[in-house]
């Protein structure tokens, strides 16, 4: 019955090598997918709009899009599940996603707010309960802006 002292060597070798070979195969797939496609592996989102970049904390993409000519004050579509609405300006998206640093970055990269727009954003931030966003907006408050939110509607 006994095939000798090394009868289980093949079984043990397979158990040691199989997971490693699986890792090597996945690694090879990552490289192949990377060199045969314009987009990186695992990229399932496609291109971001400027408002999506603002909502999803993608500071690098936001700067890249503005540098390539996108208007930081325009309205852009948002795909489902990013925020509760399907289109916002980048500043509205940053406020809606409660991202004060994105508000800061947008203001430094060409976004502009007049007193009325600032008031709407301020009320949007107040309604979302994001004190840090309210504070950030205060730093860019145009002269003559009101803070009353009576009669102001918010995107969501």
């Amino acid at each position: 019955m006994d095939a000798g002292p090394n009868r289980f060597v093949r079984l043990l070798s397979i158990c040691a090598a199989a997971p490693a070979l699986a890792a090597v195969a996945v690694s090879a797939a990552i490289v192949i997918m990377g060199v045969t496609s314009d987009t990186p592996p695992f990229w399932r989102g496609g291109s971001l709009t400027l408002s999506e970049a603002a909502a999803l904390h993608d500071q690098g993409e936001l700067v890249r899009l503005i540098a390539s000519g996108h208007d930081p004050n325009a309205v852009y579509p948002l795909r489902a599940n990013v925020l509760a609405v399907r289109a916002l300006t980048p500043l509205e998206a940053a406020v809606g996603a409660r991202r004060p640093e994105m508000v800061d970055l947008l203001m430094r990269r060409g976004a502009a707010v007049d007193p009325n727009a600032w008031r709407r954003l301020h009320c949007f931030a107040m309604a979302s309960g994001a004190a840090d966003v309210v504070q950030m907006l205060d730093r860019f408050r145009p002269a003559g802006s009101e803070t009353s939110c009576v009669g102001i509607s918010t995107p969501f």
């Binding site: 490693a20 090597v24 990229w43 999803l56 690098g60 890249r64």
Partner: protein, 476 residues
């Protein structure tokens, strides 16, 4: 070259390609990197860069500064390409030296080598070798130099081998403090019977080691004492000021904790940079799968190594002549070198625990695992133990495989973080008062920013939620 060895190199090449791809998709980092590139641009030459920081800072890493300058000058304006090419060259060399350190002659050896390869790549201490996007990744450079030195210790001795070993030691010490591990690895190899590097060469290196100690701990003592690195302790991470406040300025139980934590992180993947992340998660009732994967795969592998060492018993110290190992078996020597490097790295971490400091020990852990797994497979087990070992190999191996693939996940997350950091240039530099006055330097910074920003980076929002729970993350 034998077919099994060729297969091992082929698999290593694929793993290295995958990690290299991740490196190419990752911008250079801003913090601890951009200032060095600016300094390289402003430096009049490589030698001036080499001497520029000596005696000026806590650290003694002049070769790294000089290399940054050399690559800058050689790049012809293609800075990203130059620094990434150097990083990838070091990475490929590390993989090649690691496979070269394994004795792969049979199919069984190949199976053990593949197991060791995914430990080499999957262990969290490997992450520091790739996720840090410095112009020159000094952790990786030291790993390469230690592996090269050990390779020299196996060679047939000659004056050229001695000279190369001394050069490796000097280069490592001038790159990073943990470069001293070259001496540790060579001394342990010699004491275990390897004769590639001669005794006079080791004596010369010991003299250089003493000189290094005088420079580091006497001349630079004021800087060293002023170090205030953050570190983990128990479930929390403490800032330098908090550490001094809680434990005082001298040696304390905090230093003992750091040494033990640093050893444990290699052997059990816990704690991470001193923080007991697994037990913290346990106490909070949420241990994500990645922590189970890390701890289980490491613990089983450490058990393999312990079993291999203990079962050798008296043989560990007894002569067992094998070709090229000068009186002791190759596995015995590698176990001794692993122990020495692990102990020395842990002791060097007495001031603060940082996983990157243990990266050389992590490499030798993988090497020890190779011998342990090979030993288990060839020991002639009966049915029940064999099935138990097979299951343990499968469980641990699967964990290491996930960890290996997870390196790409960490690199992708890191790329997103670096991409975002570049978005704040030049505002961030203006705020810190480091925005250069020289127009040519400003031009280089803006070029680097524009190149980095232009890279397509995956937003983590589009990555499946399970990935963050299964693959490892950058804790600190």
């Amino acid at each position: 070259m034998s077919v099994p060895r060729l297969c091992a190199y082929a698999c290593a090449a694929i793993l290295a390609s995958s990690v290299s791809y991740g490196l190419l998709r990752m911008p250079l980092q801003v913090h601890d990197s951009l200032d060095e590139i600016i300094a390289a641009q402003q430096s009049p030459g490589v030698w001036a860069s080499f001497t520029s920081t000596i005696g000026e800072t806590t650290y003694f890493r002049p070769l790294r500064i000089a290399e940054t300058k050399l690559l800058f000058d050689l790049s012809g304006g293609h800075y990203f390409a130059a620094y990434k090419a150097f990083h990838i060259a070091l990475l490929i060399t590390a993989f090649a030296l690691f496979v070269g350190a394994l004795r792969v002659e049979t199919r069984v050896d190949l199976a053990a080598a593949l197991f060791a390869l995914i430990i080499f790549t999957g262990l969290h201490t490997f992450l520091g070798l790739v996720k840090e996007g410095y112009p020159v990744n000094h952790f990786l450079q030291v790993v390469v130099l230690v592996l090269a030195a050990v390779r020299l210790s196996k060679a047939r001795g000659s004056r050229w081998i001695d000279a190369a070993a001394i050069a490796a030691f000097i280069a490592a010490c001038l790159t990073l403090e943990s470069g001293l591990l070259v001496w540790v690895a060579l001394a342990a190899s010699r004491l275990s019977g390897r004769r590639g590097v001669s005794d006079p060469a080791l004596v010369a290196m010991t003299g250089l080691l003493v000189a290094y100690g005088l420079v580091r701990f006497v001349w630079l003592a004021p800087h060293v004492q002023g170090m205030a690195n953050a570190s983990g302790y128990g479930f929390e991470r403490l800032e330098g000021s908090q550490i001094r406040e809680r434990f005082g300025a001298g040696l304390s139980r905090f230093n003992v904790y750091n040494v033990l934590a640093s050893m444990a992180t290699v052997l059990f993947s816990e704690p991470r940079s001193g923080v007991l992340v697994f037990f913290r998660g346990w106490s909070l009732g949420d241990v994500p799968p990645r922590m189970w994967i890390n701890v289980v795969s490491s613990t089983i592998t450490t058990a393999f190594i312990a079993l291999a060492i203990l079962s050798r018993g008296p043989r560990l110290g007894a002569p067992k002549p094998l070709r090229g190992e000068g009186g002791r078996s190759a596995e015995t020597v590698d176990f001794v070198v692993f122990g020495a490097v692990l102990a020395a790295s842990a002791i060097a971490s007495y001031a603060y625990a940082k996983d990157e400091i243990m990266s050389v020990a992590g490499v030798f852990y993988a090497l020890a695992a190779f011998w342990a797994v090979r030993d288990l497979m060839t020991r002639g087990l009966s049915a029940v133990p064999a099935v138990a070992v097979a299951l343990a190999l499968l469980v641990a191996g699967s964990g290491w495989a996930v960890r290996t693939v997870g390196v790409n996940h960490v690199l992708r997350a890191q790329a997103f973080a670096f991409h975002n950091d570049w978005a704040w240039i030049p505002e961030d530099m203006e705020r810190r008062g480091t925005w250069p006055l020289d127009p040519s330097t400003r031009k280089i910074v803006i070029e680097l920013r524009d190149q980095s920003i232009a890279m397509p980076i995956v937003n983590p929002w589009f990555v499946s939620r399970w990935a963050d729970r299964v693959f490892d993350i950058d804790y600190f």
